[in-house]
């Protein structure tokens, strides 16, 4: 066990898995970097450094730089997965999904069902998501609801370094296609991460903090924010339970319902526009199956129904921030 960043945890998971299984290949834009240039090849290691050193260790047969052709990247990963490899494809920013979504939702997600259970598509599509970097409308979105609503996909959203490694190893070993959403906001976050390989099963929420008065459900980069607000409320003797589902598909519905059954109050925090969001989905789940345990209306803390703005003053308010989370918590506690 040692302290590692979220970024290092991802990098370590990929290297350890590639050492274990020669069927794993990596492909994407600049996963090595420098191909065809006059200088060093392999020094880029993905735009955020997730693949640092991977090319150096595994070489060009397994670490494949592609043209900027997202449909061909995802499609090639799909074809390689259907024929026996276990590709890890990289979509540099999740925002770029618009140019390759057909390969994701019409192809990889549907092969198994369309082909009567006779196909396996064991691939991971890793992608970086989230606001807070002044990347504006086309480099800052989360988009996890888009993937979550597609039957056939699994969706993981790690909120800390430990989960990043364990969920990514599970994703790589999983026989179904997995969308692995890395939070740009968390790449530098440090935490204890075991040196050895380990898996975190999908569909098992992590109770990030136990409590009795109020439940927060949060995903990815919103989990640390939910925990910070929970710590503030603890100073006022309000006991908040923070549920981190870790995967949005499959979703650990029982963990959410159990927590709300205990606290009777729910705030869902989701970095996503409000319509058809995970926040709305979970509010619907609790209305359907946990209504009798509710002692107050469910509150949803989401982004507004707008594109991600550029100006810092606007973007800081766009994301669910501690002030908005606190306001929602107080409203639920007062009801």
């Amino acid at each position: 066990m040692s302290k590692k960043t979220y970024l290092q945890a991802i990098n370590e998971a990929i290297k350890q898995e590639m050492r274990r299984d020669p069927n794993i290949i990596v492909l994407g834009e600049d996963v090595a970097g420098g191909q065809g240039g006059s200088g060093e090849v392999g020094g880029v290691g993905s735009v955020f450094g997730q693949m640092q050193g991977v090319y150096k260790e595994f070489g060009p047969e397994r670490v494949i730089d592609t043209p900027i052709s997202e449909s061909a990247i995802v499609g090639a990963a799909a074809g390689a997965a259907l024929t026996g490899l276990r590709p890890i494809a990289e979509l540099m920013f999740v925002d770029f999904v618009g140019v390759c979504f057909d390969q994701i939702y019409n192809q990889i997600a549907k092969f198994r069902y369309m082909f009567g259970g006779k196909a396996k598509t064991p691939m991971v599509l890793r992608t970086a998501a989230g606001a807070g970097f002044r990347g504006a409308a086309q480099h800052s979105q989360t988009l996890h609801p888009l993937f979550t609503m597609v039957p056939g996909l699994k969706v993981a959203m790690p909120s800390n370094p430990y989960d990043a490694k364990g969920l990514l190893i599970q994703a790589i070993r999983d026989d179904d296609p997995v969308i692995f959403i890395e939070s740009k906001f968390l790449f530098g976050m440090e935490g204890e991460v075991p040196d050895e390989a380990y898996r975190i099963p999908f569909g098992e929420a992590h109770i990030a903090r136990e409590g009795t008065d109020l439940t927060f459900v949060a995903f990815g980069a919103m989990v640390p924010r939910a925990l910070a607000v929970a710590a503030e409320l603890a100073k006022e003797n309000v006991s908040v339970e923070v549920v981190d589902p870790r995967t949005t598909s499959p979703l650990d519905e029982e963990a959410i319902l159990d927590s709300v059954g205990k606290t009777g109050r729910l705030v869902v925090i989701d970095e996503s526009p409000p319509r058809c969001s995970l926040a709305a989905d979970i509010a619907g789940l609790v209305a359907d199956r946990g209504f009798r345990s509710l002692r107050a209306p469910v509150k949803q803390v989401t982004c507004p129904h707008t594109p991600v703005p550029f100006a810092p003053a606007l973007e800081d308010e766009y994301m669910p921030n501690p002030r908005r989370i606190m306001e929602a918590a107080r409203a639920v506690l007062a009801a």
Partner: protein, 323 residues
């Protein structure tokens, strides 16, 4: 011509199987025995059979919405296909895929694909597997003239060249993308010329002549298997019927339709092998009868076969395992 008698019989059988199967699909569709919609391969038999003739079950093909012929050419079982197209539980895909998503991975058939331009990127991935494993096998991307204008196809062509994978792009130019002529929809004067612009060889081939297709495909296979990267064929074909079964085709004159039929690849093949004394009438007629019986039997068993059971089948096989 270096094909043995058995080879010639196999080629003829596959072409006739496609012909009789597709004629029967057309008839059963009209009779209401096939749900949904279906796009038949009538007229293009020589193209699919010529391309797949020297492939093994370990070589892969990605197909199109007009995929029945590619399945048969790749050796997929006709009974399983008919049951699938009829939506039956024991169809190749359990009745969940249907005409436009029919697949048989055990035969290297990676699926018909109802998204125009959907399959070429996937075929590049299968070719990547073959390159990585040094298997000596190839992947074929069947692509229509309509799909040849899709961005996914351009991406796949370029990626195949950049990664130097053994992928063969079989562009079947049947003259029409849905209801629009290739002369209108393809901006380049020549589809093959445009493909060559991506940096790979592209031959223009008479797609109505089995022998021409098979010989061109042999050159493509030699190229790809020698590690020289992708290769392309523009197979010039004629579509006998409309885009889908029931398309009245007012956009084609009766003269054009008759002209298309004059290129029928099956009588052409018969004439060729009979005149050369390679096979005799009795051989060919026997194949016609056997295939007719096989398709008849597939239809009869398909009609009698049970539908999938919603209680058991509706929600299964979305995932290998969903926690």
């Amino acid at each position: 011509m270096q094909l043995s008698r058995d080879d010639l019989k196999r080629a003829y059988r596959r072409m006739v199987t496609i012909r009789i199967f597709e004629e029967r699909v057309t008839k059963e569709f009209a009779a209401g025995n096939i749900p949904g919609f279906a796009h038949v391969y009538l007229g293009q038999e020589a193209s699919g059979v010529g391309v797949c003739f020297d492939l093994t079950d370990e070589d892969h093909i990605g197909s199109t919405h007009r995929g029945h012929g590619h399945c048969i050419a790749k050796g997929v079982d006709v009974r399983g296909m008919m049951h699938e197209i009829m939506g039956k539980r024991d169809g190749l895909c359990g009745g969940k895929g249907g005409s436009m998503h029919i697949a048989d991975l055990s035969k290297g058939m990676l699926g018909a694909n109802a998204i125009v331009g959907g399959a070429p990127p996937i075929a590049v991935g299968a070719a990547l597997t073959h390159k990585y494993r040094k298997s000596g096998r190839v992947a074929v991307a069947f692509t229509g003239d309509g799909a040849s204008n899709q961005g996914t196809v351009f991406e796949a062509l370029n990626m195949a060249v950049v990664l130097k994978v053994p992928c063969i792009f079989a562009f079947e130019n049947n003259g029409y993308g849905e209801h629009t002529a290739v002369s209108y929809a393809c901006g380049a004067p020549s589809m093959a010329e445009r493909v060559r612009g991506f940096g790979l060889p592209c031959e223009v081939v008479d797609g109505m002549d089995f022998f021409a297709v098979q010989a061109a495909m042999k050159r493509a296979l030699d190229h790809a298997r020698a590690g020289n990267g992708p290769y392309a064929l523009e197979l010039q074909c004629k579509r006998f019927l409309g885009h889908f079964i029931g398309d009245p085709q007012a956009y084609r004159t009766p003269e054009e339709l008759a002209e298309a039929r004059s290129h029928d690849p099956i009588p052409k093949f018969r004439r060729r092998v009979l005149e050369a004394g390679l096979l005799d009438e009795a051989d060919l007629d026997a194949i016609d009868r056997e295939v007719g019986d096989e398709v008849e039997s597939a239809v009869a068993s398909g009609m009698a076969a049970p539908s999938p059971d919603p209680a058991k089948d509706l929600t299964r096989d979305v995932y290998v395992k969903y926690a």
